[in-house]
Assembly symmetry: C2
Homo-oligomer: 326 residues x 2
């Protein structure tokens, strides 16, 4: 059974929300270790009547801290203690909704990187109409990349799509400004040829408008573009829903309750947090799932599920073999 | 009065749709010169009972053609003839919904670039909740940029926001992955300091999610990021509207007619083509508006309006002075 270390500290909503999500996950049968301030966690568990293992960590890395410095200066912070549980084999994978930078740094240093990976990549699931998400990577860890990095992203993303989402021969698209192989910057033009030779189902260049469509299951790009595009898509979804709400209000005879249900239904379909609960950090020696800093209990539950699916499917081991072959 | 040369040829929907838009614009009092195949245009004008000047051009540059080669090989193509009308002063600005590459090349060669501009930039208006669009540039002409280019984009974009959209001291944001000046790639980190010194109302870094918000009136970024983000936002808006339509259908008692009206109302607010009709090509010696290849007659009317506003506000002249000062 997969045992998941959950970093309870350093999130926007505070430890009680994370513990509440962990209690839901434990109730669903997942085996967890909660890492953080025991004095804060225990009363929450008692109040919920839940029996979940706790490993005490006296320090916290805050959202605003310099990740490299904080991780170095606070070896007893919850993220470092949780990472060591995974490195030592006491846990199989790590979930954190704290500082993304601190999670990346702790995972790289303590859990370690797979051969050939200089820096892990973030794979974020994006909701689309088909129900299954599109994975976009890198979503912000590697702002500038070489063509070979895009190939590694393709291999790693395809494995997640296959193992976690059950997609057979996932289609990998290279994010670009046009379909032709000659389009894009030097990095895309070079990566195109490498991706054609790589052991993935490469479907060629895809454009921004194709991301929410049913064109590719995995979209590879540099972390700057990936981060900006992801956030722009989230912002646009929010804007459109607000406009729909406004249009409803202007049409006489609308039932406010019904309107609210329709908006909420769509919001849940397009909210990346609800859709997935978190993003995968890929390229580390064990599974790491990064939740939004503002993760709700539902998001925590989903993040634990993502981590469990990865462990069950042997994601990290298969990734090591996949990268070695590519 | 502003006289606008409209390239009628080479669009996805064919000349009759462009002529129909031009007839609407002429009916609204705009002075136009239609450029293209006289044998195709004349019968449309006769059928519409409209009297609009036509300048014959026997050749067309197709969407799939190499722009530089096509423009060189077809001096009598509609885009080249239209550009020469502007260069000679027979028209004040140019509107084309044909090949963007051909329009950029023809405008650069025939109309000419402003001092210090190596390559024009595309400024695309993005709908947002406030009613006034956000301008994003570059939207695809300059895939990789230097910090100084981002400063020029800021100066040019701010002038458009001021002159065309009547925004006082338009706020300029630098698209980035975080707010802090230290965020981003080398190009953003260097541009941040330059933008602080530039004669624009620089509001700092903005994230992807801020684009549809009320944070900046002008968003500057490289053309690769701009193009991908724009298309991803369009795709997301379409997805969300489809999901809303689907959610409506699942709720019993919905009136299909009312649903269609609400969806259409929001679609018209977020459809960039309906919102603006086209994008500005900035950095040329006279106004150039680029329409979508699939422009409808309404989009053509709006594109003509954009061109007229630019001419009336002395956009090209003020841009020349603004660039010289920056």
């Amino acid at each position: 059974m997969a045992r998941i270390a959950v970093d309870v500290m350093g999130t926007d909503r505070g430890p009680p929300e994370i513990v509440a999500g962990a209690v839901m996950a434990a109730g669903a049968g997942h085996e967890l270790v909660l890492v953080g301030d025991r004095e804060v966690i225990k009363p929450e568990l008692v109040a919920a009547g839940a029996d979940v293992e706790v490993v005490h960590a006296p320090d916290v890395v805050g959202m605003g801290e310099d990740p490299a410095k904080a991780v170095r200066d606070k070896p007893r912070s919850s993220i470092m203690v949780a990472a060591r549980l995974v490195a030592s084999g006491d846990a199989d994978a790590l979930v954190s909704a704290g500082s993304t930078g601190a999670t990346m740094t702790a995972a790289s240093i303590v859990i370690g990187r797979l051969e050939g990976v200089q820096r892990p990549a973030i794979a974020t699931p994006i909701p689309r109409a088909t129900g299954l998400p599109t994975l976009i990577l890198d979503a912000g860890a590697n702002l500038e990349v070489k063509p070979v990095h895009l190939v590694r992203f393709a291999v790693m993303g395809a494995l997640v799509a296959e193992i976690v989402y059950g997609i057979d021969r996932p289609r990998v698209g290279l994010l670009n400004i046009g379909e032709e192989p000659s389009k894009g910057r030097e990095v895309e033009r070079s990566a195109f040829g490498l991706l054609e030779e790589a052991p993935v189902n490469f479907v060629g260049n895809i454009e921004g408008g194709d991301i929410p469509g049913d064109v590719a299951d995995v979209v590879v790009t540099d972390g700057f573009t990936g981060n900006v595009v992801l956030k722009a898509m989230e912002g646009t979804a929010g804007l459109v829903l607000n406009l729909v709400r406004g249009a409803f209000g202007r049409h006489p005879g609308s039932s406010p309750g019904k309107m609210a249900r329709i908006i909420e239904e769509v919001r849940m379909m397009v909210d990346p947090e609800l859709c997935a609960g978190g993003a995968y950090l890929l390229g580390t020696r064990a599974g790491v799932v990064i939740g939004h800093g503002s993760s709700s209990r539902n998001a925590v539950l989903n993040a634990v599920r993502l981590a469990v699916e990865g462990v069950k499917g042997g994601l990290a081991e298969r990734m090591e073999r996949g990268l070695a072959r590519s």
